[in-house]
Symmetry: C2
C-alpha cells in the first residue's frame, strides 16, 4: 500500500466501487488509513490473515517480490492471477514461472512515479496517460492477459507488451543509466566542492535540476541496479563511448564535429518531447470525446 500499490488501489476503488479490495502493508497505520478512506474493504500487516483473492498485485521492491514468490508462491491457490509491479523484470518473470500449476502469472511495470513515496503520496490519477509494461510468460493464458489489460486501461494507462529482457534494457537506458549519470555528476561536484567550497555559491538552479535523480531513494535504487546488472553495465559502456566522442571533438577544438554531434542530439530530444506532447494531446482529446459521447 505504498505509492504504487496505494495509487492502484485508489484507482481501482474509483472505477469499481463494489470491488472487494484487501490491502497488505507492514505499517498498521497505513492499513487503517486506507480502510478509513474506503479504498480497501479490509487489510492486515501480515500475510497470515490474507483471505485469498482472485487477483493478487505485488507492489514491492524487486527482491522483496522474489522473496514473496519463493516463500508464499507455492501456497497460492490455483486460479489466482498474480501480477507484480517490480521495476526490473527478468528475475521476477523467471520466478513467476515456478508458481504452482493453475496459478496465473503476469509481469507488470507502470512507467510512472514521483519523488515522494508511501501511502501518503499515493493518488488515484498516478497512472493516467502513462505506459504500463506487461511481460506475459509462456504460461500466461489469454484470459489473464485480457484481465490485466482491462485493469491497466481502467486506471488510465496504456498497456505495452514487452519481453522481460527487452523491458530491462529499455529501463536501463531511460532510468537506471540516468540515475548513475546524475550520481556521478554529484560525486564530481562534491570532489571539486571539497577543494573549493565556493562551488556551492556558484551552483544555480540548473545544477539542482540536473542532479535531481541523485536524491532518489538509495535502497530502492540499489534493489533495481542489482537486479539489472548486465543491461546497466552495457549501457554504461555505450554512455562512456558517447562521452568519449564529445570529448574528442572538444579536445581537437573541431567546431564543426562538435556542432553536428550536438545538433543531432538536440534535434532528437526535441523530437521526443514534441512526440510526448502530441501523444498527450491526443489522449486528452480522446478523453473529452468519450465524455461527450
Amino acid at each position: 500500500m505504498g505509492l504504487m500499490g496505494g495509487s492502484l488501489a485508489r484507482a481501482l476503488r474509483q472505477a469499481y466501487p463494489r470491488m472487494t479490495i484487501y490491502g497488505l502493508d507492514r505499517n498498521r497505520e497505513t492499513v487503517r488509513q486506507a480502510a478509513r478512506a474506503g479504498v480497501i474493504n479490509a487489510g492486515s500487516t501480515t500475510w497470515d490473515s490474507f483471505p485469498g483473492a482472485d487477483f493478487l498485485i505485488l507492489a514491492l521492491p524487486v527482491r522483496a517480490i522474489m522473496c514473496f514468490l519463493q516463500e508464499i508462491g507455492p501456497t497460492l491457490a490455483p486460479g489466482t492471477l498474480v501480477m507484480d509491479l517490480g521495476s526490473t523484470k527478468r528475475d521476477i518473470c523467471r520466478a513467476l514461472r515456478t508458481l504452482p500449476a493453475g496459478v496465473e502469472a503476469m509481469g507488470g511495470h507502470p512507467m510512472c512515479g514521483k519523488e515522494q513515496a508511501g501511502w501518503e503520496a499515493s493518488e488515484e490519477t498516478l497512472f493516467h496517460h502513462t505506459t504500463f509494461v506487461l511481460c506475459p510468460l509462456e504460461r500466461t493464458t489469454p484470459w489473464a492477459l485480457s484481465v490485466a489489460r482491462e485493469l491497466i486501461t481502467t486506471v488510465g494507462a496504456r498497456p505495452l507488451r514487452l519481453t522481460a529482457a527487452r523491458h530491462d534494457r529499455l529501463v536501463a537506458t531511460i532510468s537506471h543509466l540516468p540515475y548513475l549519470a546524475a550520481s556521478a555528476l554529484l560525486a564530481t561536484a562534491d570532489k571539486v566542492g571539497r577543494e573549493d567550497p565556493l562551488l556551492w555559491e556558484v551552483a544555480a538552479n540548473g545544477f539542482r535540476d540536473t542532479s535531481r535523480l541523485a536524491s532518489s531513494n538509495v535502497t530502492m535504487s540499489i534493489d533495481i541496479l542489482l537486479t539489472n546488472i548486465e543491461p546497466v553495465l552495457a549501457l554504461l559502456e555505450q554512455y562512456e563511448d558517447a562521452l568519449e566522442q564529445l570529448k574528442s571533438a572538444l579536445q581537437s577544438g573541431n567546431e564543426e564535429a562538435l556542432r553536428s554531434l550536438l545538433n543531432a542530439i538536440r534535434l532528437r530530444r526535441n523530437w521526443y518531447v514534441e512526440r510526448q506532447q502530441f501523444m498527450r494531446g491526443l489522449e486528452d482529446w480522446q478523453d473529452s470525446s468519450e465524455e461527450r459521447s
Copy 2:
C-alpha cells in the same frame, strides 16, 4: 538586449528611472520594443551611432565579446567602465587587459538563466537571489569594483569575487559538464531507440527532466565549450572516474560499496538543496525586513 542584457536594462530602469540607458541589438524590432517599453532611452542596431557611455555592458556570447574588444576596444574613451557578462572568463579577462589605459574593465557573469532566449524572455527580476560573479583585473580600480558591486546589489543579486581561472573551473563543474553528460545520455538513448523504437514509449517524464540540458542552444553551448576546453576536459576525466567507481561496485555486485557511495552522494545533494533553500529563505526574510523598516 537579449535575455541577459534586456533583463539587466529592465532591472536598472526599475531601480534608476532617470538613468539614461542606450540599447544595442542586431534586431531593429527589439530596439523599438525596448524603447517603446521605456526600458531604454534610445538605441541602435550598429555601433556607429553609439553615443558613448559611462558604463558599457557587453551582454554577448564569449567569442562575440572577444571580437568586440579586439575591434572596438582600442577606440573606447578613457573613463568608460566596461563590464562583460560572458559565460567563461579566462579569454575575456585576458582581452580586457589590453584595453587602452584609462578604460576601466571588469569581468562579470550572472549565474542565472532560463530556457528561452531573447528580449521577449527578459524580465526585471531575473537576477533576484542569484550569484553574480565578478572577476576584477589587476588594473581594476576600487572605484570600478564598487560601482559594479552596487549595480549587482541593485538588481537583487549577490556579488561573488573570483579569479577568471577559478570561475571557469567552477562553471565547468556545475554547468558545462552537466550539459555534456545530458547530451551523452540522449546520444545513448538515441542509439538504443534506433534498434528498438519502443524505447520512446517507455521513456517517462523522468527522462525528459534528466535530458533537459541536451536541448540547450547549440551555438551558445559551443561558444562556451570552445572557450573553456581545458577545465571541461579535466572535469570530464573526473566524471569518468566517478562513473568507473560506481560501475566497478555494480560489476562486483558489492551492495555495501554501492550503498555507501550512493548514500554519500544523496546526502551531499540533499545538503546542497537544503542550503540553497535556507539561503533563499534568509534573503526573503531580509527583503521583508527592509520593506518593514
